[in-house]
């Protein structure tokens, strides 16, 4: 599903060069639930962003569904992100000016979906995360756990095959965290490929496979 070959990421600022990822080779297969762990600053987010086409590697190749994407232009990349990928962020990244329903609809705005269909799909996604009673609310009126569930609904509304989650439970207490994990597991059981960055061992243990990073290098 996703394949990384010799991926390297270097951050250059005027004074320092940081090697955030060093020669990463890995493959995530369809239907897998993979977790990524490692100490702070070891490159987990960088890796996830590169797999999700949010960032470009300095070196190496990325294949999604057997397609090499390094030559893709903005328009094509956007299309790929829209159709194949769904993101969940630690700090939710909901748009405060939009209602829950409008937030969830965002991925559908960038494909040919009628307004009516968008409403329906967004409603369905919100039902899946147990938030169908909060559709008219605004992000500010929600708890952290609820916000993250809205974010998950947004990530799945376009039925992407791959869901990328960067510490989706990092800002939540353990009860909420477990709820979120349960939702992800359900999505995985329904066929989604999931890659999740986490700091929580017990959560990582509940996934199929663990990738461990240390200082930009894969150690497991």
């Amino acid at each position: 599903m996703i394949k990384l070959q010799n991926v390297e990421k270097v951050y250059r600022t005027s004074s320092v060069e940081t090697l955030a990822l060093n020669n990463i080779n890995l493959t995530v297969n369809k239907g897998e639930f993979v977790s990524i762990m490692g100490p702070s600053g070891c490159g987990k987010s960088t890796l996830l962003n590169i797999m999700g086409l949010l960032d470009e590697p300095s070196q190496g190749h990325i294949e999604i569904d057997g397609r090499r994407v390094e030559s893709y232009q903005d328009q094509k990349l956007a299309r790929l992100r829209n159709e194949k990928l769904g993101f969940i962020f630690q700090s939710f990244h909901l748009i405060n000016d939009l209602s829950v329903l409008d937030n969830v609809e965002i991925p559908l705005l960038y494909r040919n979906t009628s307004a009516k269909e968008r409403r329906e799909l967004a409603r369905e996604a919100l039902e899946k995360v147990g938030l169908s009673n909060r559709m008219k609310h605004f992000p500010k009126q929600l708890s952290g756990g609820q916000k993250q569930r809205v974010a998950i609904a947004r990530a799945i509304v376009g039925r992407p095959e791959i869901i990328l989650a960067d510490e989706p439970t990092g800002n939540l207490d353990s009860v909420m965290g477990n709820e979120i994990l349960a939702i992800l597991q359900k999505l995985n059981a329904d066929g989604a490929t999931i890659i999740m960055v986490t700091h929580d061992d017990s959560m990582a243990r509940q996934t199929h496979r663990l990738i461990r990073l240390f200082d930009g290098t894969q150690v497991q």
Binding site: D55, R81, F87, H93, I95, L109, Y110
Partner: protein, 415 residues
């Protein structure tokens, strides 16, 4: 999709009341000023009651006599004799109307003084102008020939002078400066900003006290040459030039010699400018350059301000941009979104300006500041200003939007 953008734009507006206020204030004040100013210009220079034939008329308003030997110069309107000899005899004009520039007079009602603007006109004046007669009719050639003491008055003067008993005032008398005149017509008054038609009372030019026999060339009368049609204006102009060229350049006027004279027939707007700037074209050019620069600044400053505020506002929305891109928005689409937002804001500003202008113009019309003021919103001006605003909206939006749409997703999400 567009509806969605507008929804966001609306919410962004509501979320930043201060920004919204500054932006809308900038746009709508600029537009309002533009519209009120042009409406005023149109009021001054356009074709309006009771000078409804301005667009097919040339105005001859003054003659300048110079004595080059003593470098002296006299300028004034013309004498009746001059107008009758040289202008009334022209072939191209359908009519040549003649009126004095205003003079003043007093009338008394129950011991109260009414100060009046008076005009002495000929019969053609009423044909060249498009006065609306509320009662009675204008004076005819015969009454001018016999020097009848008759008068046409405005509705305003009628109200002040006569009790409103519902009866017609035609045939009744008014006493002005100790002379009695019979009212033969009542017209709807002309605004004071139209000096060739504005007055409170209009006499035949042959009544006593008009001094119409004064002067060879210079006097107190102006002429309006009305062509049959706009297309004949140039023919009329050349006939006028020819007629003038046949008059000897030098002569004597009021006891002093002159060595040459100049006289012009001009369209209304042109003669208006001449009355302001004199014959000096460079002064005119300077004035219009200055106006253009001021206008540009008027439009430019809000635009610059818009760009500034926009950049700040969009930076605030970096996270939104990151999210949209992460979920598949191409840079182009985002650019489009921000442009739609900006145009939407401009549009609101434009609508506000329309309301403001309308209110201000109504206020001016009803304030009595200019009697009989008839300012109106000029749709062309509104559309052009709106287009200019759109352009600024675009420019002020495109630049920051372009920068933002090119933002890297990871960077956008971090901020």
């Amino acid at each position: 999709m567009i509806l969605n953008y507008i929804k966001i734009a609306w919410k962004v507006l509501l979320r930043h009341p201060f920004y919204t206020f500054i932006t809308l204030f900038g746009i709508s004040i600029t537009l309002t000023v533009l519209m009120v100013v042009t409406s005023f210009m149109d009021h001054l220079l356009g074709v309006h009651y009771p000078e409804g034939n301005r667009d097919r008329s040339l105005f001859v308003t003054s003659v300048v006599q110079k004595d080059t030997t003593r470098s002296s110069r006299s300028s004034s309107p013309m004498s009746v004799r001059f107008i009758q000899t040289y202008l009334k005899t022209m072939q191209t004009p359908e009519r040549v109307g003649m009126t004095s520039m205003f003079t003043f007079a007093n009338a008394y009602v129950n011991g109260k003084r009414i100060k009046l603007f008076t005009k002495y006109t000929d019969a053609d004046f009423w044909r060249v102008c498009t006065f609306e007669f509320l009662d009675g009719k204008p004076f005819a050639e015969q009454q001018i020939k016999t020097g009848d003491q008759v008068v046409v008055i405005t509705d305003d003067f009628q109200k002040q002078y006569f009790e409103d008993d519902g009866k017609t005032v035609i045939g009744r008398e008014v006493e002005i400066e100790g002379l009695r005149y019979r009212v033969i017509g009542v017209v709807k008054g002309s605004p004071a900003t139209r000096p060739y038609s504005y007055a409170d009372v209009y006499f035949p030019y042959t009544v006593p006290k008009s001094n119409y026999e004064r002067g060879n060339m210079r006097g107190n009368f102006i002429a309006i040459l009305m062509a049959k049609d706009k297309s004949e204006l140039t023919t009329m102009q050349s006939e006028f030039q020819q007629a003038m060229s046949r008059i000897p350049q030098s002569g004597t006027e009021y006891g002093s010699k002159y060595t040459n004279f100049t006289i012009k027939a001009e369209g209304y707007a042109d003669q208006y400018m001449t009355s302001f700037f004199g014959d000096d074209d460079s002064r005119r050019v300077f004035f219009f350059t200055a106006v253009a620069i001021i206008l540009l600044m008027f439009m430019g400053l809000p635009a610059l301000n818009l760009v500034n505020v926009n950049v700040g506002r969009m930076m605030e929305r970096a996270s939104e941009i990151g999210v949209r891109k992460a979920f598949g928005a191409p840079a182009k689409t985002l650019l489009y979104q921000f442009i739609v937002e900006n145009i939407f804001i401009t549009f609101i500003g434009g609508s506000l300006a329309l309301v403001f202008s309308f209110v201000i113009i109504q206020l001016i019309n009803n304030s009595g500041w200019i009697a009989y003021a008839d300012l109106a919103i000029n749709p062309t001006v509104f559309l052009v200003s709106l287009a200019v605003c759109f352009l600024f909206g675009l420019l002020s939006g495109v630049l920051p939007a372009f920068r933002m749409s090119k933002l890297k997703i990871v960077d956008a999400l971090k901020s």
